[in-house]
Symmetry: C2
Subunit: 244 residues, 2 copies
DNA sequence: ACCTGAACACCGTTCAAGT
DNA sequence: ACCTGAACACCGTTCAAGT
């Protein structure tokens, strides 16, 4: 997609060899920049430098910074493929969860955007929505239960992964890491017995109790259980649904 | 907590009646500001104006803007009370989900922070962690299943609510609203049959298909189903767990 | 149509100086 | 110890001007 046919060269003076600006090209470059140096140090001006244009040139293609962010999220989520094949709800959901996670894992620095942008993203394709609804409906859900299951799937798909890969405090990572580790090391067995007893299997493998993000310490096993739990719960919902 | 005893008055010239600065007072003021005018227009400088001090005065109590944000989140999450009483896992989780949602509903503008900050918040009390682990453990979970269930609960508690109350595109809300509504109105029955058929119950009641945030259009029914699904899934996990 | 260039009204944060 | 005040190196965005 990115290296399709030779682009028309730009007319701009400073960078004769650089490709002409495009909305697509700008979004790609922005995503690349965020992947490389992180969300925090992204700015329209830094992006402009990377593109070898004046900051204001970007505004000819993108109305605002927020809109650019929304389009970056849309670009990432586009990579979540889902085969059009009809299959069981179980298989469909399982693939969806795993595909989504794989995609975010490739772009962990945009994770903070996903959680807040997806829910209100008009740019998102409705094919995905239709497919999810179709599978849920065919499994026997309708009315409020259909809506509830739909919202449940969306919320759960985003929830775990967005948090798993959310960047951990940026500054002095060494300092912060040892701080958390020391805190866990000095947990009193009297005040927190269950926590203390299970510390070995919880350390760096559980939310709030870890010092690395999912990039360095992926929560593979927990995610597997998570998916099982959600799917089992939805199947339970289907059972309690009166047949049409 | 906020109006406990008469504060010592400040020595600063410009605002003789204003209370002396405190880390606590600053965090409270920041949360208040965000509640009133939103996260987007929050800045250290605006906060300073509200406090009637120079921007740099804040830095005597708070090391950085990010740290302040983390403490705001901690302050909000402190309001999620959980009775120390021993009770069934079902009752415990149900209360937890509902309390959490009620708290976020009172501070919807901080919702975007919750999802990304909670997971790595050292400021968070470990009492909560211990309680959750204790209930899950007593219900029969241990080892990887305990870790998985723990992470599942954290992820699901945050997931739905953070997205439900996430502020919707700020600018020209009227324009954006009608844009989404028109898009939904012109959905083709051929391309998106299930979506089209269920549009009446999905409109503004489902993620991606709504034009108002949870503040104006709360997803009460879906949340109830969501909680049921998660709890049913966890109970299923407990059943498959070999007895100790 | 597409980009340059200057300019505006902001930021977070450091550091010296006052009291 | 706690705050003022100036200053630095940035921001996003508007708007006129060039080609």
């Amino acid at each position: 997609m990115k290296d399709a046919q030779p682009r028309t060269r730009s007319r701009r003076s400073g960078a004769p060899d650089a490709p002409a600006l495009t909305r697509e090209y700008i979004v790609d470059a922005a995503l690349e920049y965020i992947d490389e140096v992180g969300l925090e140090s992204f700015s329209m001006r830094n992006l402009a430098t990377k593109l070898q244009v004046y900051p204001t040139a970007i505004y000819w293609y993108v109305p605002t910074r927020n809109e650019l962010m929304a389009q970056i999220v849309a670009r990432v989520l586009d990579q979540v493929i889902s085969s059009k094949r009809r299959r069981s709800l179980d298989a469909f959901l399982r693939d969806l969860f795993n595909n989504f996670r794989d995609v975010i894992r490739r772009h962990p620095n945009v994770a903070p955007l996903i959680g807040t942008q997806l829910v209100s993203n008009t740019n998102m394709g409705l094919e995905f929505v239709e497919q999810l609804l179709a599978h849920l409906s065919r499994a026997g859900l309708s009315g409020a239960a259909l809506v509830g299951a739909y919202n449940t799937v969306i919320a759960t798909i985003v929830g775990f992964t967005a948090q798993e890969f959310a960047p951990i405090p940026t500054e002095g990572s060494d300092q912060w890491q040892t701080q958390v580790r020391e805190r866990l090391a000095t947990i009193s067995r009297e005040s927190y017995p269950v926590l203390a007893a299970n510390l070995p299997i919880l350390s760096n493998r559980a939310f709030i109790l870890r010092w690395e993000s999912g990039v360095e310490a992926p929560l593979d096993e927990s995610f597997r259980i998570y998916v099982d739990v959600v799917i089992a719960g939805i199947e339970r919902l289907i059972e309690t649904q009166p047949a049409a």
